[in-house]
Symmetry: C2
Subunit: 200 residues, 2 copies
């Protein structure tokens, strides 16, 4: 299988990077092809310009590459910290520019953009790994854990992905070394369960 792994965290020493390394290792061991993007390292430009909005707009070639990889993926893994109940801006820009009409979703004929789009992604499954410094109870009760519906319904559901799994690790800032080791084992187990060794 071909799996996209998208990472958005500015610190190479972060636990997000550790999750990304673990994820890539499991996918390699399972003999999958991997499209790996560390958006900060690549200095991804997150600003969607007005000219890119129409479905048939001309798209810069570096964005086309991201789009082609996403379209070719059999699975998607997203890794980012919980910043204000949302992804970091650099990843929001990847959503804005790469999850495009005609690539990830399309409108039915005669629809000006107000209808229910058709999901176009080939991938049937997606995993989101988040890190957080907000205790889980507060995240649920005070904030309503918006990352769940953002990724599950607003983004991947709309693009046709039905199998979705999300795990928020935390509280990271007060965690111990052995807790973090346990979380990495858990992440590895999830990736391994979703994307087992390729038999083809």
């Amino acid at each position: 299988m071909k799996i996209s792994v998208i990472l958005a965290h500015p610190n190479e020493k972060s636990f997000n990077h550790a999750i990304a390394r673990t994820t890539v290792k499991v996918l390699q061991d399972n003999r999958h092809g991997i499209y790996f993007h560390d958006l900060y390292k690549e200095k991804f430009d997150p600003i969607l310009p007005v000219g890119e909005i129409p479905q048939d707009a001309p798209i810069p070639s570096f964005i086309t590459k991201y789009c082609d990889e996403l379209a070719a993926s059999d699975g998607i893994i997203i890794i980012h910290p919980n910043w204000w109940g949302q992804p970091p801006a650099i990843l929001k820009g990847w959503i804005d520019r790469v999850i495009r009409p005609g690539v990830a979703y399309g409108f039915l004929e005669g629809d000006k953009g107000e209808g229910v789009p058709k999901g176009l992604l080939k991938a049937r499954s997606a995993i989101v790994f988040n890190t957080s410094n907000t205790p889980e109870e507060r995240e649920q009760e005070v904030f309503g854990d918006p990352l769940e519906t953002l990724w599950k319904n607003c983004i991947f559901g709309l693009c046709g992905i039905t199998q979705f799994y999300r795990k928020m690790f935390g509280v990271v800032v007060t965690s111990s070394e052995s807790q973090r080791r346990g979380w990495l084992r858990e992440a590895a187990g999830i990736v391994n369960r979703f994307y087992a060794r390729d038999q083809s």
Copy 2:
């Protein structure tokens, strides 16, 4: 009063820009001071680098200016389209970089970042104007309208703002001229109610 108005839409002919012009006009008529930012026009750089994360980190002077204005504001008005249940990346970056610890919220002594922060903003009220091409029923039932909790609880609630009003106008793409005129009157009425003529 001093009111911050933050606009994030790439198209100057958009309805978002029309809302922003209406908002600024009402505030001017009511003799308020205005900090107006059209983030696309200003080419705001939304990427929070690792070095800016600590509360006592050195901050570039252009970010300090945004922070000082936010801290000095008696009210805040945000205008943006609903893109994937979230703001455009450029505005997410304004949140990531400008709504900083020490400016908008602070941790209590001995808190490493896992506790409940104290809101520090002087502003007691905020308005968010959104535009959308998703019918309201679908936004509520399928997506859970994440913009409501994002702005109300995750962001402004955390920063100490208790009076919050949000209005999502739509469906914009199929709206008539007279509908849009009505929406602008509604927006003007909301701004006027929150930020009436300054008597001081």
